[in-house]
Every structure is written in structure tokens, then in C-alpha cells.
Symmetry: C2
Subunit: 109 residues, 2 copies
């Protein structure tokens, strides 16, 4: 690391619901708004909309609106967004090890 761009990645992931959104979209490939609401316990319409908009603005998520009644909107990880997958996997793997670390530390008390 010659100069720190970690924060650039953090900007994308920072937001209470963003990791959860990405997790859902990675697993289901494409999802509608209500589907995301159902799969992410506790999120409100307001926050889901806001975070999806931010991810869309950052080219991570693709938003597709179908001109139908009732409205239908689908979300998915963009091609560019998929470049984040290795990052997420690395963080996820470390997070698992860290959970063990915490447990070991607390057991020896």
C-alpha cells in the first residue's frame, strides 16, 4: 500500500444496509424492491430506497424500471459492481476468523 485508498472502498460499503443489500443481490442475482424489503429484516422503505440509490449512483447496482401497472422495479449487481465480489469475500472470510478470535479471547477469561 503506497497510499491509502482503503477509504474509497469503505465509502461504497458504508451504510447500515448496504452489505445486506449486496449480499441479497449476490445470492438472488435480481430482486424486486419488496423482495429486498422482505429479505432484509428491519429496513424501512426510506432507507432501502436511499441506499439503493447510492449504490446505483456508484455504478454498483443496476436499477431497471418496467413500464407496467402496478410498477415493477428490479435491482441487480452491475457488471462493474461484480468487481467488488473478491473484496467482499476477503472481508467476509476475515470476519469469520475474527468471530472465532473473539470467542477464544472471551473463553480464556
Amino acid at each position: 500500500m503506497s497510499e491509502c485508498k482503503v477509504e474509497t472502498a469503505l465509502e461504497i460499503l458504508t451504510g447500515k444496509w448496504k452489505p445486506k443489500i449486496l449480499f441479497q443481490l449476490l445470492n438472488h442475482k435480481t430482486m424486486r424492491f419488496n423482495e429486498l424489503m422482505r429479505m432484509i429484516p428491519g429496513v424501512t422503505q426510506r432507507m432501502l430506497t436511499q441506499h439503493l440509490r447510492e449504490l446505483e449512483e456508484q455504478d454498483i447496482v443496476t436499477r431497471t424500471v418496467y413500464a407496467e401497472v402496478p410498477p415493477k422495479v428490479e435491482y441487480s449487481i452491475s457488471d462493474y459492481g461484480s468487481t467488488l465480489v473478491p473484496v467482499l469475500q476477503t472481508m467476509d472470510a476475515w470476519g469469520r476468523k475474527h468471530a472465532e478470535h473473539i470467542q477464544n479471547r472471551d473463553e480464556t477469561n
Copy 2:
């Protein structure tokens, strides 16, 4: 990713000054409090103390106090904290590519 532990890693890195602190400690191996203050423009004593304490609590950073007058305290990345390095490198690498992506996107406007 079977279940999302990305947030566990995010908890460690979340905090306005934490990436900067880790970046400095990785480059200099061991640093005193004032040295960190000088190398991190804009940080206040309060925030530097607070974030260092959190990183210490999470076993990422080691704090060594020397019983001298005037006081001398040294900070460094702990052995366990060094397991974070690959994560930081992955994020940093992606951050660089993302910077290019942004630039290309804006140039074509």
C-alpha cells in the same frame, strides 16, 4: 459467502481516522502518540485517543506505556492485527481501480 460477516470487518475499519491510523502504523511499524498526530492531518487528540482505544480493545493495535517522565507511549499493529493486512490490501487495490473507473466515467460526459 454463505452468510454475511462483511459487517464484522467493517466494524473494525469504521471510524473516520481508523484507516489512516492503520496505514501509518503499517508503514512505520511503531509510533508514538504525537507522531501519529503529526502524520494524520486534521485529527484531534480526542479522536485519535478514542480510535486508538477502540483498535486496542479489538486486539488490532498494541499500546505500550513506558514508565518515564515525560510520558512515552508507543503504538503498533498487533500480531493479530496483521491478519487484517490482506483485507486492507484487497480494499486498497479495489479503491485504486475504482478511482480510475470514476475518472473514465466522468471523462465520457
